[in-house]
Amino acid sequence: MNLGSLKIEPRLEPKFSWQLLSALLALAMSMIVCALMLSAAGADVGKAFYQIYKGAFGGWNATVKTLVMSTPLILTGVAVTVAFQAKIWNIGAEGQLFAGAMMAYWASTFLSNSPSGVVIPVVIMAAFIGGALYGGLAGYLKARFAVNEVLSTVMLNYVIRYVLSYLLVGGSWRDPSSFYQQTPKVAEAAHYPLLLAGTRLHLGFMVAVLAAVTVYFFITRTSLGYEIRAIGFNPTASRFKGIHVGRTVVIVMLISGGIAGLAGAGEVFGLHFRLKPDISTGFGFTGIIIAMLAGLHPIGVIAAAILFGGLVNGGIRMQIFTGVPTAMISAIEGIILLFFLTSAVLTRYEIKRVKADG
């Protein structure tokens, strides 16, 4: 046999084209499963898909609404990206989002009579600090006590939800005129300005895009960004190279948490104008899928987040017009991630022709 044979070998650097292909493959597979679920639920598959599309990107209004929905998702996606680049499994973007929202709300209560020019920068900074401190706590526990960040961030997610619930029920934050667990409305001056008059697209979207671009340059162009990627690639080698791994872990979690915190402020001051437990419907977790699907690329996160924002809005329209429950969308999100992980295996290998001479 002189023809040689084909050999499958591990690939060191996954090719971008293969990554894109595997992401598209995962989406296609998920659509097939989606179609199966729809027909199982007794819906007209074509009609349901059309309604999802209409709700997501069917026209100007729907598209702007999708951008509004994608705002927190871009931020949680970028937050997760920063951490995952360093192979730090921050599952706590959800909790950090709430920590940011709470810190921002708390800060705004001191500035109820100040003009927008003062309140809004303070609110944004407070949100970053709140999320950063909460994320940094997990980072510190990992660096100092080797506490597994997956478990600590999950626990912190629960802790912050209960603390918020305590403040909204028994504590001083509750709106006394309301039956619901929520704070009073924030002052008019603290509302994020609108980017497009007559829509609900607010400053938060710009914050999100800016955060993604900043993180992109930070990771690729700065020495700290290089260190972050290096400890993700090989922590032991990084240590020998003189990178202070413990310190970098804390910094990563501060940044990651801070960006997630910005998402919380956007929802409170840009959309709901009050703090309540349902400002996030699992945005922190959806951010993980988005980050993975974007191949941990901050700019890719923007695209993936807009896609997912569209899915959520499309799901709502689908429920109205076809009666298929929106819960299908979150099931599909999990399925997309599973398919993506599976198809990403393909990018790890390459097929080589080996000459049969030895």
Binding site: M37, A40, A41, G42, W89, I91, L141, F145, A146, V147, N148, V150, L151, S152, V154, M155, L156, Y158, V159, Y162, V163, S165, Y166, V169, G170, F285, I288, I289, M292, G323, V324, P325, A327, M328, I329, S330, A331, I332, E333, G334, I335, L337, L338, L341, T342, A344, V345
Partner: protein
């Protein structure tokens, strides 16, 4: 009289502790077996939720608790089969896989529930649940009888699983091999035994236990299904494995301690004592973090947890 009331309250808190510990203990033991084989299954919460759901729905359809229980166990095994396929065969990131399973379960259980009962209007579907099984003679022992021997079947199963899992891991050949996978899988490979096969065995068996835990949450406890009914018990199970230092006996103690906090909180709320109960609910999670901080010199954490094994690695 005061003394009498205090004793009944303490006894009822302790009985509730054992009841609440049941799903935690089953899921934590299931997770332990998988982690000993080197697989970190973060999908426990999702697995429990899917098992709880299928236990409920199959009991509803067939009107038989035993069919429901079987369905829950099979679902637990299947969910873990998916986990181990991704982890041992495809060797993808175990952390992310586990999270994907959680999201899948969270959406899928709600979707199937709503799709199945879409026509039934406002009336929430209900099922018959398992009755308390009084153990003859033992249940008449003062205090202890009520706390330990007037429980549901699955509670007894959970308690018996503690020595059973211990015996399996520490006194059988398979158990030894599984523990070896978590420390040094190369040894197993060098002996000509299949690493992957043993990881499948461990994780799927663990899934059976998690499925039993999920079953207890619905058909062992409540007549209705509500979204996210497992409410973080799977995550607590993961913490219990750590708090119990990866040993069955330690896991029993940790599960009972966490369950006690919950039972105490329920009792306090029920009596109407003004206490910030949300903070009490947050306590187990905060305690869990503290327990992870307190480093033990004799940690039994498997050295190869969540590290995929590639043949020929150095």
């Amino acid at each position: 009289m005061g003394d009498f009331f205090q004793t009944t309250i303490i006894v009822s808190i302790l009985a509730a502790t054992v009841r609440i510990a049941t799903p935690l203990l089953l899921a934590a033991l299931g997770e332990l077996v998988a982690e000993r084989a080197g697989i970190l299954n973060l999908g426990v919460e999702g697995n429990m939720l899917m098992s709880a759901f299928s236990g409920f729905i199959f009991t509803y359809i067939f009107g038989s608790l035993w069919v429901g229980l079987l369905a829950a166990v099979l679902t637990g095994a299947l969910m873990n089969l998916l986990m181990v396929f991704m982890a041992a065969t495809l060797k993808v990131e175990q952390v992310v896989t586990g999270l994907a399973l959680n999201m899948l379960a969270s959406g899928m259980s709600l979707f199937l529930y709503k799709a199945f009962f879409s026509g039934s209007g406002n009336k929430l579907p209900t099922i018959q649940i398992f009755e308390v099984v009084q153990i003859p003679f033992l249940s008449t022992i003062p205090y202890m009888g009520e706390i330990l021997f007037s429980q549901k079947l699955l509670t007894y199963v959970a308690l018996l699983m503690v020595p059973a899992v211990w015996f399996f891991l520490y006194r059988t050949q398979y158990g030894l091999e599984i523990r070896c996978l978590g420390e040094n899988p190369k040894v197993i490979d060098t002996k000509g035994l299949s690493v992957t096969l043993r990881q499948y065995l461990a994780v799927v068996c663990g899934g059976v236990l998690i499925g039993l835990g999920g079953a207890f949450v619905t058909i062992g406890s409540t007549v209705r299904f509500i979204p996210e009914i497992t409410a973080g018990r799977g995550w607590l199970a993961l913490v219990i494995v750590i708090a119990g230092n990866w040993k069955p006996s330690g896991i029993l103690i940790a599960a009972l301690v966490f369950a006690f906090l919950e039972a105490f909180q329920l009792q306090v709320q029920g009596v109407g004592v003004q206490l910030p109960y949300q903070l009490l609910l947050a306590l187990p999670y905060a305690v869990a973090i503290l327990l992870m901080v307190v480093k033990r010199s004799t940690s039994e954490e498997p050295g190869r947890l969540a590290v995929p094994y590639f043949r020929g690695e150095r």
